[in-house]
């Protein structure tokens, strides 16, 4: 016990930066191949508009992955959780760190990927206290010679990809009222899409589109309030279920005025279907957490919007968790797949939700085709496919003054933001996720601008009889799991699937792993020295070889106990996550490091 305790002691002293760069001789044989093929690039955090995180590269496969070795590493010098995906375009790798949101361009044509330029946006320090779950960012997007980023304090910035010079900057978030931005922006045509975070601070959620050339705001769609603010135009809005039809439901499904601080941010990944010309994104939890203070369905929180990128108008909406009771944000990724569904080809949207169900929706109209639990769920008994409604178990409903125990899944859900991958070769989804439950005490809270608006004290635990973390291959057609790999800690990293029939993910105790996409058999792993909560990606380097990259750097909501040096005696710390993470080791490497692997 003593050794365990001492390894958990938080010194918060910054370790000297390690020289972690090395490059094998093979890397020096550069400029071998021109980097023009589309599969060479990874221009946005999710890889593609459909959010599949699938790479067509197959040089690294199940037969040779065992020899995978580090090609180079890059130490960002930034502490705290590194959730971002690096992107690669035209022989350059771009990387955004956690606060203070330093943007790096690394020249992949030079040995060890030398720094081409570095851009420091200097976000407001106070944003650090307003970000609920560590000071993370989830990445950047590239389009037309420009890198698009957003700082934690909500400034959207366009940076010249060649020089690192700032083109424009537009402040979007009101930090004094608890707004921050942590999501990875998406660029569709000449629109940059940005959504806010702050569901724990009583913000009013929005998705905003900016003109990519000027930074001017083209439209903003709120997640609560009157239809004109939500950009619902009834002549062009056609949700599948009657409960989502009606005038000003974003006001009518709340107690008076409560929608003004009702949450519903848009901090997850945005998907885009070019053929239908529709954007898809999830809305976050309603505020406050205490549901008794917001009677009603609380539209349009904890659901999914389909919107037109041109003017932002809504095409349809569906609510995963009406009147959400347990912080089940609906922001998890929407994977846009075309599946042979019960004999017919259907354009679907697949979404593993925090509430514990994998949903398959018709993405043209929002009809729920399937909703199946992928973990043990006791907060609800299922989804009624006639009405589309989640059937809550009232026994787990929070009530002021009471402590409700063993609420499963816990507040971060069966799966949080950590994005899944899909391989068209195996037809499987790969879900990084967790098995956690919480005990919650509910009380009446008041809104104070810039402070948490919660009304719940929670404390999480691992779910009895299973591991806290899991990596699951899910068959969307058979509607069941094919295999699950247990992990000690919640799997807080994203997943990557490749045409080499490999799946990559990282763990909170620092391992970067490759497993067989068909069988789940572990094939390779490497220790990075700090917990991994980033998003793995693959690219073809200017030398023609396949590379797989991941950021290490423990943190995020799950890893805040280590990155924020929280006190492990208090299980309610980090909104209750510390209760389940008391044994998370402190990282050996203090700063966020990009690790890039290749065959020798």
């Amino acid at each position: 016990m003593i050794t365990l305790e001492s390894s958990l002691i938080c010194t918060c002293v910054r370790a000297p930066l390690r020289a972690r760069r090395a490059w094998p001789a093979a890397l020096l044989l550069l400029h071998a191949l021109a980097a023009s093929a589309v599969d060479a690039e990874w221009p946005m955090a999710s890889g593609d508009y459909a959010n599949t995180r699938y790479s067509t590269l197959a040089d690294i496969d199940t037969s040779n992955v065992g020899t995978l070795a580090e090609a180079f590493a890059f130490d960002t010098g930034v502490e705290r959780g590194q959730e971002a995906a690096p992107i690669v375009v035209g022989g350059t790798l771009y990387l955004l760190t956690a606060w203070p949101n330093v943007l790096y361009a690394l020249d992949l044509t030079r040995p060890g990927a030398a720094v081409k330029w570095k851009f420091e946006p200097h976000p407001a320090p106070r944003a650090q206290g307003e970000a609920c779950c560590d000071v993370v960012t989830r990445g950047i997007a590239y389009a037309d010679g420009t890198v698009f980023m957003v700082t934690l304090d909500g400034q959207a910035i366009a940076v010249d990809a060649a020089t690192g010079a700032e083109r424009w900057r537009t402040p979007l978030a009101d930090v004094a009222h608890g707004e921050t931005v942590t999501m990875a922006p998406l660029v569709v045509k000449d629109r940059m899409l940005v959504g806010n975070s702050g569901g724990e601070m009583g913000v009013r959620g929005w998705l905003t589109a900016l003109d990519t050339h000027t930074g001017a705001v083209a439209w903003r769609a709120y997640s609560t309030g009157p239809d004109r603010d939500v950009l619902i135009n009834h002549s062009r809005y056609a949700p599948f279920y009657p409960t989502d039809r009606g005038t000003d439901l974003g006001v009518a499904t709340w107690p008076p005025e409560a929608w003004k601080r009702g949450g519903g941010g848009a901090w997850g990944f945005v998907s885009y279907d070019p053929a239908l010309d529709l954007l898809y994104y999830g809305t976050a939890n309603p505020g406050p957490w205490n549901p008794e203070q917001r009677a009603g369905d609380n539209k349009w929180t904890s659901g999914v919007f389909a919107r037109r990128p041109g003017d932002g108008t809504a095409a349809w909406f569906y609510q995963w968790s009406p009147h959400d009771r347990h912080d089940y944000d609906g922001i998890n990724e929407m994977m846009l797949l075309d599946l042979d569904w019960q004999g017919a080809r259907r354009e679907v949207l697949v979404h593993p939700d925090r509430n514990g169900y994998v949903y398959v929706l018709d993405r043209k109209n929002g009809e729920v085709l399937a909703a199946d639990p992928f973990v043990t769920v006791n907060t609800s008994t299922g989804v009624d496919l006639k009405t589309g409604r989640l059937q809550y178990d009232p026994g787990k409903d929070p009530r002021a003054g009471l402590t409700i125990r063993n609420v499963c899944p816990a507040a971060p859900g069966a799966k949080d933001w950590q994005p899944s991958a899909y391989s068209p070769r195996t037809g499987l989804l790969y879900l990084p996720h967790q098995h956690l439950c919480h005990d919650a005490q509910t009380y009446t809270t008041s809104y104070i601008a810039g402070t948490p608006f919660l009304g719940v004290t929670a404390q999480m635990n691992g779910m009895a009889g299973t591991s806290r973390g899991a990596f699951t291959a899910w068959d969307p057609l058979a509607r069941r799991a094919r295999w699950t790999l247990p992990e000690v800690f919640p799997v807080w990293s994203g997943a990557l699937a490749t045409a080499g029939d490999l799946v990559f993910y990282g763990t909170l105790d620092g391992w970067f792993k490759a497993v067989d996409a068909r069988s789940g058999k572990p094939l390779w792993q490497q220790q990075t020295g700090s917990g991994i909560i980033g998003q793995p990606m693959a690219y073809r380097g200017p030398d023609g070889r396949e590379y797989v990259a991941i950021m290490s750097g423990v943190g995020g909501w799950a890893g805040a106990v280590s990155s924020g040096c929280l006190d492990r005696r208090d299980g309610t710390a980090a909104l209750g996550f510390v209760g389940a993470m008391k044994d998370l080791p402190m990282p050996e490497v203090k700063t966020g490091v990009l690790h890039v692997y290749a065959l020798p």
Partner: protein, 162 residues
């Protein structure tokens, strides 16, 4: 036979009083006026003993206010989250009563909101007294007892002397 009863009652009151702090039967004593941010060092600091440091009622009030003003949302029950832990012995801005008062009143740059002007100075002194109890720095007789339900860490009364 009223007298023995009264005597007995007096004894109980006295014993109860002896157990804990001296009770003030007048209105609460207001805390010293806020010394101002520039007066933290030197002479004022020496004087700025928290008037509630040994007042169990005020420390308990501080605990109630700690939730009332949403401090708990950021600092949890002392273990931290959006805010830094307050249970541990590490103090970014100092642990003297005046430092704690200033942290709450003026805020701190990396995300501690300023409560001065939104909350009375008297309440800030109570909060500051409770912040010390979170770390186990007030006598166990003064510290709040354990919560009715969810409380994971040791109650404040048992943190003293750790």
């Amino acid at each position: 036979m009223r007298c023995p009863e009264l005597a007995c009652l007096a004894l109980i009151v006295c014993l109860a009083g002896c157990e804990r702090e001296t009770r003030h039967f007048t209105a609460d004593v207001p805390g010293p006026a806020y010394p101002g941010p520039r007066a933290q060092t030197g002479t004022v600091a020496g004087r700025a003993e928290n008037p509630y440091a040994r007042n169990a009622y005020a420390v308990n009030e501080g605990k109630r206010l700690f939730r009332w003003y949403n401090c708990n949302g950021c600092h949890a029950e002392g273990g931290g989250g959006m805010g830094v832990p307050l249970m541990d012995a590490e103090w970014r801005y100092g642990d003297r009563p005046v430092d704690v008062f200033t942290s709450i009143h003026d805020g701190r740059p990396d995300g501690m909101p300023a409560f001065g002007g939104r909350v009375t100075d008297d309440q800030i002194w109570r909060l500051a007294a409770y912040v010390r109890a979170i770390e186990g720095r007030v006598a166990s007789a003064t510290a709040p007892n354990r919560d009715d339900s969810l409380q994971e860490a040791k109650p404040e009364t048992r943190r003293a002397g750790q």
